[in-house]
């Protein structure tokens, strides 16, 4: 144990914590994105609300999600510790600095980008996660025809004390599959109509893009996974996948709701 402790308190140990939590958050982003793509379905939120329920009630996923919250906190905390150490390593700064001559802007501003993301995550969690868990959300009832899955009847059920619960059953008599679920889709739709929220979301995704543009590859460098045979693949995934595609896909959702719904 003392070995682990000394290892993790060394400069390289702290960096490995940053990289592992960072990469874990990257994998989460993929899962999150796949789920969120359900928002684009024109089904009054059937798929999305079902997905939201699974994410919050399936035990293995719940465990992973707590790991995720911990990762965010550890990632941010270690970033803070490392930044303050780095400040101490240069108590007197330069009068003139030409950082652009030797390194990309993103790599030198991970702290600022990360702070933006942290603020975003707090607002984001408050708007969706906290609402979903604790607020009195209306329920959505979906009756999906067993013979034609495209035939869905949607009814909104206002919040009604404790009488309503999540239900999922097959009604043979009427030939439908019934799903009654918390209508998170409604909250999303409403929020994505707010211009300030859309702006915040998009700005944050730009920050995410820059953060991952450097962060993904940097994590591999820290782990020492840097072989010339695959370093270009890592760079490609980091820059095009995490630096461009994923943030654009995320940003597309609020924009889609804002402009087309």
């Amino acid at each position: 144990m003392s070995n682990l402790k000394t290892t993790l308190s060394s400069s390289l140990g702290k960096k490995i914590v940053m990289s592992l939590t960072g990469l874990f958050l990257c994998t989460f982003l993929i899962v999150h994105l796949i789920g969120n793509l359900q928002l684009f379905k024109d089904d009054n939120g059937l798929a999305f609300n079902a997905y939201a329920y699974t994410m919050t009630h399936f035990t293995p996923i719940k465990i992973v999600s707590y790991l995720l919250y911990a990762s965010i906190i550890v990632h941010a905390m270690y970033a803070l510790i490392l930044t303050s150490m780095n400040k101490k390593a240069r108590p007197v700064g330069y009068a003139q600095q030409n950082g652009n001559a030797n390194s990309p802007w993103t790599s030198r501003n991970m702290g600022i980008l990360g702070t933006i993301l942290l603020i975003f995550i707090v607002i984001h969690m408050n708007n969706f996660w906290a609402q979903y868990h604790w607020a009195d959300l209306p329920y959505a009832k979906y009756e999906v025809s067993l013979t034609d899955p495209a035939d869905v009847k949607f009814t909104s059920i206002p919040f009604d004390g404790s009488k309503i619960a999540h239900t999922d059953y097959v009604d043979i008599e009427h030939g439908v599959k019934v799903l009654i679920a918390k209508d998170l889709y409604l909250i999303v739709g409403e929020l994505f109509k707010q211009w300030w929220y859309v702006l915040l979301y998009v700005v944050s995704m730009v920050a995410l893009a820059f953060h991952l543009f450097h962060g993904f590859r940097s994590a591999f460098q820290t782990l020492g996974w840097d072989h010339k045979k695959y370093v270009s693949a890592i760079r490609f995934i980091g820059e095009w996948g995490f630096g461009l595609l994923i943030p654009i896909a995320f940003a597309a959702m609020p924009l889609y709701f804002f402009f087309f719904k």
């Binding site: 390289l12 108590p91 950082g99 030797n102 020492g224």
Partner: protein, 267 residues
Amino acid sequence: MSHISHPNTNKMSAHMNLTLKVWRQKNANDKGGFVTYKAADISPDMSFLEMLDVVNEGLIKKGEDPIHFDHDCREGICGMCSLYINGRAHGPKRAITTCQLHMRSFSDGETITIEPWRAAAFPVVKDLAVNRQAFDRIQQSGGYVSINTGGVPDANEIPIPKFIADEAFNSATCIGCGACVAACKNASAMLFVSAKVSQLALLPQGQQERYQRVQAMVAQMDEEGFGNCTNTGACEAECPKEISITNIARMNREYFTSKFFKEEEIH
């Protein structure tokens, strides 16, 4: 290295006049500050340090204390010179030390800001000279193969594949100037330390102490108060010997392997 291109391929005979903003600090305890000097009639063929020589000659004649800066071989190999010029370690050109920088890289009338390396682990000694003994202490902690003089095998009994020898050589070219630390926004010494760790981790001679070495050198590096690597790549870009940050990845690998998968512990 590819070709170096010069803005003026023809010999310029026109001399330049420059304004220098130089960091002056009497000793480690002095607060220090910038002082402005004029450098007049500077030939573009002068090296940057020769330009400072000229300024110093003028100062001495006026009875003033000349600007102190470290320098020795003046051919880019001893690693002694260490100026932060216009916001960059060793000045505006890549892959050279300050002593190899020539005035033809500047233009007439320019103002040049000259600062010492800035890092807690490199305290200023005087003016532009800093104390880099932290580097020596890191090397002392493990940057060697523990063999005594005599009693070693014949040189050709240790065959080494050429590509390994070449890669080790690339790491071994470090001159210990500290530009990596100076350029890094975190004042991290990772490139310096990893160059030595890499050299000996690659070569068969270094295998016996491979894992203790990396642990000892990283521990000493941390103790010296250098910052942490955030993989900006500034070190590699400013290194006069163009040592690659691949070395840093290799050191990380060595360190985690030693910590998580090997028996060796430092004491």
